[in-house]
Amino acid sequence: MRVWSIANQKGGVGKTTTAITLAGLLSMRGNSTLVVDMDPHGSLTTYAGYDPDNIEDSVYTLFHNPDVMIASVVKRTKFENLYILPASTAMATLDRQLGSRDGMGLILKRTFSRISSRFDHVLVDCPPMLGVLMVNALAACDHLIIPVQTEFLALKGLERMVHTLNMITRSMKIPIPFTIVPTMYDRRTRASQQSLQFLREQYPHMLSEALIPVDTQFREASRAGVPLPMMSPDGRGTLAYGALLDGLVEFDRALQYGQVKPHIRAAAS
């Protein structure tokens, strides 16, 4: 089982879209795939057809009772091979309730060790702020995906995210390999082109080759509650995420077999 977390402290950069689109592709390719919604807003949960304001078992349950039966928290979706560990709004209180308790950052990691034979892939969608939920997602992943919107403000957010990652790496004493994914790229705008150029210069070894273009279909897919690859298998957005997935799988395989030293990718500065 491979765990990829999708995080960026900046909001609205395409985290949830990346999680659901990659998960859609993975499940269509025959992988048993679990998406985990760590965001109390529950966009991913809503996307999958559940109501984060009215859900009995969720990530919240898991944090209060880490030994809960996994089968009761993981839910089916309308799509074959695609499962969700949903969010509930009450997760917003977890930081206050448990945030400073020792070892609380490793709950998700432990949960995953219990289900490692059940799923091929886990994708974890993070909230756009640092807290116990994001720390759990980072500590639990084999590979971190950082979507970055190709515009100037977003680059500052990326710097912050990389800094957070370095601090977590320091506390855990193991590096977390990461890949930066440029999103909402519009090659007609100077801002998109210039920020891509900046990313290429600053993070040459951590940048994915695939770019995610602006595509209005993402919003429609989200409204319909269907991952874009299922709604539009040949759409621009689907093809772009397909290319991204190929690159991620290849890199991940190299990581797994020790062909890439994680610190090479993880050494940020």
């Binding site: 400073s100 020792d102 070892g103 609380m104 950052g105 720390v135 601090m167 506390s171 004493k173 193991i174």
Partner: protein, 230 residues
């Protein structure tokens, strides 16, 4: 970044960094099953620390206090005045070295960094120095805190950096000094009256005071720079 630039880093920024480190260290505390080499390191570490290198802090400190009980008046009457940061309420970072809990005022803190595997030895240097660690173009002197805490009857300094196997280095005093650290604990706010200030600082001049709740030894970083560390 060079030393003179470090001192320019604003206090609030350093304080926030320290707060974040404390938060993350607590969240990620129980190091789980990563891989075999990791667990070996952990085992090795617990084996080496099972030889208690530091006499329990409370014992040493109480002894110290009793010895200097004559000058119990907390006013400034020893050889050294209280440091400037100690006049009003101040924040301290608590960290653990073996069983010893130390505290540095945040106003003296310059950061917390991951400990390197090794440091450069200092043959012929002060006995209480473990060696030098490069940091942003300068050298940080790493202090063998166990050396100071050892009593005459039980002289067991850790002596080598590898014997400490620290997780972090706590940088202080303009990043001139580094303390090996096994755990960053937390940041608390303290009032001067909560500290038993040492009036006679002939021995361990850096140990400016002791707190009871939590029990910890408060460090005056400047004292390391001043003169001999008898």
């Amino acid at each position: 970044m060079r030393l003179h630039e470090i001192s320019k880093l604003s206090r609030p920024v350093l304080e926030q960094e320290a707060a974040l480190t404390v938060y993350l260290d607590a969240l990620l505390q129980c190091v789980p099953d990563y891989d075999v080499t990791d667990s070996l390191v952990v085992e090795e570490r617990s084996a080496s620390s099972s030889v208690d290198p530091v006499t329990r802090v409370a014992d040493v400190l109480d002894h110290e206090m009793r010895a200097s009980a004559a000058g119990e008046n907390p006013a400034v009457q020893g050889e050294r005045a209280l440091p400037g940061w100690a006049t009003t309420s101040f924040k301290i970072l608590l960290f653990r070295v073996n069983e010893l809990t130390l505290a540095v005022p945040l106003s003296e803190l310059n950061g917390i960094v991951a400990a390197p595997e090794t440091i450069t030895g200092l043959p012929g240097g002060e006995k209480w120095l473990l060696g030098l660690m490069p940091y942003r173009g300068s050298s940080v002197k790493i202090i063998d805190i166990a050396y100071f805490m050892a009593t005459e009857s039980r002289h067991l300094p850790m002596n080598s950096f590898s014997a400490y196997a620290p997780k972090n280095i706590v940088l202080a005093g303009g990043a001139s000094w580094g303390f090996p650290c096994h755990d960053v604990l937390r940041i608390i706010t303290t009032e001067p009256h909560q500290v038993r200030w040492r009036s006679d600082r002939q021995r361990r001049p850096w140990l400016v005071g002791i707190m009871n709740d939590p029990v910890c030894a408060l460090i005056d970083v400047q004292a390391f720079s001043l003169d001999s560390m008898a």
